[in-house]
């Protein structure tokens, strides 16, 4: 006999919890849903666009009746539960329907707060909460002329905008002097006010409602200061109250909301609460992302997994009014210990304010240009130390030395046909359509459906902004910390910590210890785990072959047609006539279609069949050449110039230095590809300042630079320090590499890693802590003893033979 689960409240939070539960434990419960509204589950946050005529009700339905049938869920629409009997473990509806439960989920949401002024019960006075309210507003706007919205907050302004789109005159009454004062400071509030007024909205500030007048229908509103406004419709949007009456009556402990634990359980452990009615660690959330997070945790507990905890959310706000870009997050007013960084360009309608405390972002308000909102939010959430770039922070991420997306910073201004994702050719219109049609809420959803930002990721900020703008006020980047992948709740850092602390030495051991959700991971987490184990246990860990991407199994780079490329190492970019002859002979004999000089000063042969690889490697080996690892998350190349041997400007032997660097570091596996360069003078012909580790020789020694890359987002290096000898260069490079290897997340290049951790931290570890630096360098040297075997030679000798041969030739 299955246990019975009852959900009270057929809204977004509750049904999302069921969806999550069905994903992990589809057959655990007999599920019954009671909803007071006569509809299926719809997307409440899309009510504003419905009011504005941009969407229809059908378009915002999330789960239609068939969904409940398909999932064997009994749905009671339009049946309001009036009593929970916890002793008998049953619920009773207004019409007398009774149902027994083993576990109960309360997701009753919230009710709009109606100010109890005289006249609040007249016909034509409503809240803004559900489909019914929208229906009333649409009806009235067809027959009448004047609407008043009480409350100039997020919801009130969205309602006002929607009504205005219906062609009626709208007056907003706001109690204080700043619109959306819970999200905006006075400057941004003023800018918002101006642009709404330009659109035709009338806004009265310091407007305290005294009375609503009318005979049967509402006719007007009288304010405390005597002002009078004509009204055929009054929408109260002064806030919501968690709907806790039912729970409270049943003796479940409530404060402002129903108090829940980190597993979303109330004081009665068989009763759960999620959504706007729940109060978690003193907080009540009304935005969609936290509600979904709660749903996930609750489902995890209901599904008897019980390993995930809700730890609160940090939220940000956007206004869902077409053509207005504003963003707000965190504490934007500050206190006596905080400082404000402000950028204001009134003529262009741009305003940004960051509240900073101890060099960390605590809050942000932006108006006009909000493209960097998600970035500021990330900095805030991660508690990133901004010391190293606070002089540029207000100009946005695009100004942190990379080429970024240039002028495309006003997401609403971009035409639908503009290409957002250059890798996959996805336009703005495609993304917006997918978000609305497929009802997407998260970046991952958008990536899955449109592929936008799923390849190189450089347009992630734009896609997030589009998502935020399309879902509007209710979007927020929710997860407190990013899980490693869908297989596991834990972060990269947490997984690395357990590998080290509990001495886990196989992928299986890690998965068992941390309770992976999938039997053997996925193509994202397995390569990451394999790398973490290689890095942590260089001597003992035996590489998990099947957890490597094909390039690192075949030791060649797979091309679009399934053929492979071969790129032998050319130490420091130097070669010999004999090596060139061998390469030329191979190219002739194997009829190589393309022979190409790569960006890393080597020669690549393209279009080779897999079975040919070991034969070619054998030839290269015999001529003294080894794998260039041009296919791996590994040390790639050390680019050099000819230095003082030849160049009249050269100050040091940069070629020798490059070769020595490459000899010390080749063969090492890294979180991502790693490139170095050594230039013989500050003219920097080897482009050392866009490498992960770059050396610029000067007359007095060597300048060391870190954290640069070309590629998707060009980033120039940060200057680390000046050293005097080539031996020191090797030591510092080894220490930096090892720090990166031990610290960065898999597939995180040095540039984002450095921005995440801060240059200050790297300087502390490498410059200030001499002992620590020497230790890091030594760790690297030791691990290299196990890494520096030419993988080509091993395979020529027969290792992994199955990789290069057919299972069978038929016919």
């Amino acid at each position: 006999m299955k246990e019975k689960l009852i959900l009270i409240g057929n809204g977004m939070a509750g049904v999302r919890t069921l969806e999550e539960l069905l994903k992990i434990a589809p057959d655990l419960y007999d599920i019954t849903v009671f909803g007071a509204e006569p509809y299926g589950n719809y997307n409440r946050i899309m009510l504003s666009p419905v009011l504005a005529g941009e969407k229809t009700i059908d378009e915002i339905m999330l789960n239609d009746d068939q969904w409940y049938v398909d999932n064997n869920i009994t749905l009671h629409k339009g049946r309001k539960i009036t009593q929970i009997n916890r002793l008998a473990k049953k619920v009773v509806a207004a019409d007398g329907t009774e149902a027994a439960y083993d576990r109960l989920l309360i997701a009753t949401g919230s009710n709009p707060f109606i100010i109890p002024v005289p006249g609040h019960d007249l016909e034509g006075v409503i809240g803004f909460r559900d489909i019914k309210d929208v229906g009333v507003m649409l009806d009235i706007s067809k027959q009448y002329r004047h609407a008043v919205v009480i409350g100039g907050g997020l919801l009130g302004l969205e309602a006002a905008n929607g009504l205005m789109q219906q062609g009626i005159k709208v007056t907003v009454l706001h109690l204080v002097n700043t619109l959306m004062e819970r999200q905006l400071d006075s400057v941004a509030g003023k800018m918002l006010c101006t642009s709404l007024e330009e659109r035709g909205l009338e806004i009265l500030m310091k407007a305290s409602t005294k009375e609503i007048i009318g005979k049967e229908r509402v006719q007007g509103v009288i304010l405390e200061d005597g002002r009078e406004v004509t009204a055929d419709l009054v929408v109260m949007a002064v806030g919501v109250r968690p709907n806790i009456e039912l729970a409270h009556k049943a003796g479940i402990f409530c404060e402002r909301g129903i108090v829940v634990s980190d597993t979303m359980q109330t004081y009665d452990p068989s009763v759960y609460a999620v959504g706007e009615c729940a109060q978690h660690r003193k907080q009540i959330y009304g935005l969609v992302a936290p509600l979904f997070e709660m749903g996930k945790v609750c489902a995890n507990h209901l599904g008897q997994h019980g390993f995930s905890r809700y730890q609160g959310s940090m939220t940000s706000t956007k206004l869902k009014v077409t053509g207005i870009d504003l963003f707000s997050a965190g504490d934007f007013t500050g206190n006596e210990d905080s400082e404000e960084l402000i950028f204001q360009d009134a003529a262009n309608g741009v305003y940004r304010k960051l509240v900073v405390e101890d060099n960390k972002v605590k809050g942000a308000v932006m108006y006009g240009d909000t493209i960097d909102g998600p970035w500021y939010f990330d900095l805030m959430r991660d508690g990133t130390d901004i010391t190293d770039f606070r002089d540029k922070i207000l100009f946005g991420q695009a100004h942190l030395g990379d080429s970024g997306h240039g002028d495309e910073n006003r997401i609403t201004m971009i035409p639908d046909t503009a290409e957002i994702c250059g890798c996959n050719g996805v336009c703005k219109g495609d993304i917006v359509k997918a978000i609305t049609d497929k009802k997407l809420f998260t970046l991952d959803d958008v990536r899955a459906h449109t592929k936008a930002s799923s390849s190189c990721g450089s347009c992630t900020g734009l896609v997030e902004s589009l998502l935020a703008h399309t879902v509007g006020g209710n979007y927020s980047v929710a997860p407190h910390q990013k899980p490693m992948c869908a297989c596991i709740e834990h972060t990269h850092d947490e997984v690395r910590t357990v590998i080290k602390d509990y001495e886990l030495k196989t992928i299986r051991a890690v998965m068992d210890f941390v309770e992976w959700n999938t039997p053997d991971g996925c193509s994202k987490c397995r390569p990451a785990l394999n790398y973490y184990l290689v890095c942590q246990w260089p001597q003992e860990y035996s590489d998990d072959y099947q957890s490597r991407f094909i390039n690192e199994r075949a030791h060649a780079n797979i091309q679009k047609d399934g053929t492979y490329s071969v790129i032998p190492r050319m130490w420091g970019g130097s070669t010999t006539p004999a090596e060139l002859r061998t390469i030329a002979d191979i190219a002739d004999e194997y009829d190589v279609k393309t022979v190409h000089v790569t960006g890393g000063q080597r020669i690549g042969l393209y279009g080779l069949k897999k079975y040919q690889l070991p034969q070619i490697w054998d030839r290269l080996n015999k001529a003294g050449m080894v794998s260039g690892h041009a296919y791996g998350k590994a040390l790639r190349t050390v680019k050099t110039c000819v230095g003082k041997d030849w160049c009249r400007f050269g100050t040091q032997d940069s070629t020798r230095l490059g070769i020595d660097l490459e000899k010390a570091s080749w063969g090492s596996w890294m979180p991502h590809k790693f490139k170095m360069a050594a230039s013989g003078c500050p003219r920097n012909c080897a482009e050392a300042t866009i490498k992960d580790f770059g050396v610029v020789c000067v007359d007095s020694g060597y300048e060391l630079h870190v954290g640069g890359n070309g590629g998707v987002k060009v980033r120039a290096t940060d200057f680390l320090c000046h050293v005097s000898t080539p031996e020191e260069v090797i030591e510092y490079a080894s220490a930096f590499i090892q720090l990166y290897r031990e610290n960065a997340h898999y597939l995180e290049r040095t540039a984002p890693w450095l921005e995440r951790l801060g240059l200050t931290y790297v300087k502390q570890r490498i410059l200030e802590d001499e002992q620590g630096r020497k230790m890091l360098a030594e760790h690297f040297r030791v691990s290299q003893q196990f890494a520096q075997q030419d993988p080509w030679e091993e395979r020529v000798q027969g290792k992994d033979n199955h990789e290069f041969t057919l299972l069978k030739q038929v016919g």
């Binding site: 497929k438 053997d520 193509s523 099947q546 094909i550 399934g562 299972l807």
Partner: protein, 114 residues
């Protein structure tokens, strides 16, 4: 399989090697006159065969990472169900799948797509 006649079966079931010839969570390729077929082995030693061509852009599925009963195409990360050849939603498309039989550790492939 029901649409396949007995004559065809005897004609077309081909012995292709041993289960142990394929690494767990890996794949090998059988080359046929009609092109390559990828033969996968899961962690539980189940064996599946699919046309070695991703429905997206023809990437060689045999070169992908196998996880659960899925393979991730090495070219653009599409995920394909090993049992049906269908792409994992929301992607759409299908790689032809072929019946495989295991007898005493030997593998037999039926060269008629399901």
């Amino acid at each position: 399989m029901s649409s396949v006649s007995t004559a065809e079966i005897t004609k077309n079931w081909v012995e292709i090697g041993r289960v142990d010839d394929i690494p767990r969570l890996g794949a090998r390729v059988v080359n046929t006159a009609e092109g390559d077929i990828a033969v996968f082995r899961t962690a539980e030693d189940e064996v599946f065969a699919l046309r070695d061509s991703c429905p997206h852009k023809g990437g060689p599925l045999s070169q992908g990472i196998v996880h659960g009963k899925r393979v991730t195409c090495p070219l653009h990360d599409w995920k394909i169900h090993l049992d049906s050849g269908e792409a994992v939603a929301p992607d759409e498309g299908c790689a032809a799948s072929f019946p495989v039989r295991v007898e005493n550790g030997m593998l037999f492939l039926l060269l008629v797509a399901d």
